[in-house]
Symmetry: C2
Subunit: 186 residues, 2 copies
């Protein structure tokens, strides 16, 4: 079979089923509010959002691989580029830039210019410790784990906390060798 050409983020996004972004934003806001009411502790809310994201990420990766025609990345650098240019575009309709690589190419930052999760959101002072978008870090961590990469994903900058951008640090902890049969061959 001829190798499929990976699609651009725009092409993929145009070809997937979509819903209204504002509905998504408000629905996500409802989750965060619910968790704050239930769990009370901001740290617990951060943890739960990350866990929810992880559960979503381990399922979204299939849709991503099926629709994007992306095949195995040669290294973590390429992985980060694919997340930024295809992944964010395909799911949220925005793109990220990749920067702040460390010397051995195992840690970088994804910078979001736009972030549909935070429209109309302002954090009251009492919730300054909240990582409002923590579902995103969980999604990335979960999705990468399904393609054999153990990562740590943390917020470095957050505009809701007064920073000038949304910056997620993605650190590769361990590359787990895939066992035969490889996913690509299925």
């Amino acid at each position: 079979m001829a190798r499929l050409v990976p699609r651009s983020g725009d092409a993929v996004f145009a070809n997937v089923e979509r819903v209204n972004a504002e509905l998504f934003t408000l629905t996500y806001g409802a989750i965060v509010r619910q968790l704050i009411t239930d769990l009370e502790e901001v740290e617990e809310v951060n943890k739960q959002l990350d866990q929810m994201g992880y559960n979503i990420g381990i399922r979204l990766i299939d849709e991503f691989l099926a629709k994007s025609n992306v095949s195995r990345c040669v290294d973590f650098k390429e992985t980060a580029d694919v997340i930024a240019k295809v992944g964010f575009k395909m799911f949220l309709g925005v793109t990220a830039s990749v920067t702040n690589w460390d010397a051995d190419g195992t840690s970088c930052s994804l910078i979001l210019e736009e972030n549909p999760l935070v429209d109309f959101v302002e954090l009251p002072d009492m919730y300054q410790g909240l990582h409002y978008c923590n579902i995103l870090s969980g999604v990335i961590r979960g999705a990468l784990e399904m393609v054999s990469m153990k990562t740590e994903v943390t917020w470095v900058r957050d505009m809701l906390r007064g920073d000038d951008a949304y910056e997620l640090q993605v650190k590769l902890l361990k590359q787990v060798p895939e066992e035969y049969p490889y996913k690509d061959d299925e």
Copy 2:
């Protein structure tokens, strides 16, 4: 100013910001799971989903009026048509049909052929009392309340419970007269 022509659901949907439907579906699933864990009682989960939907609906109505160019409906019949053909399309990318009108035109059913909320969902027997999509009834109730209609919105049929369609009954309880200045004139 010339009167704006209302847009079709397709035209509106093409012009709004959108996100990936599967991301929305999985995110909504995460809410439902969270509520089941927190509240335990299925009836309580139904109530909370409806309340979340209501809170979303009272805000989505502004986006709807701004983007759809729909002006005041002459009667509840027209309102139901607009929800089915423009509202569902604009937010979920699907359309509904309107049926089962009562004699005095104050109660009808919205039938959904497609329902992006329920992809990959199966209800275990112990949750048969769950109205999984109850956020939708809340959204409709909240949105209509903002345009002076008190309604009761209930599920009549639910495919997750083995029915052959998704059917929402919308009953107009009270039309609250708007006070001057009217919303249309703002």
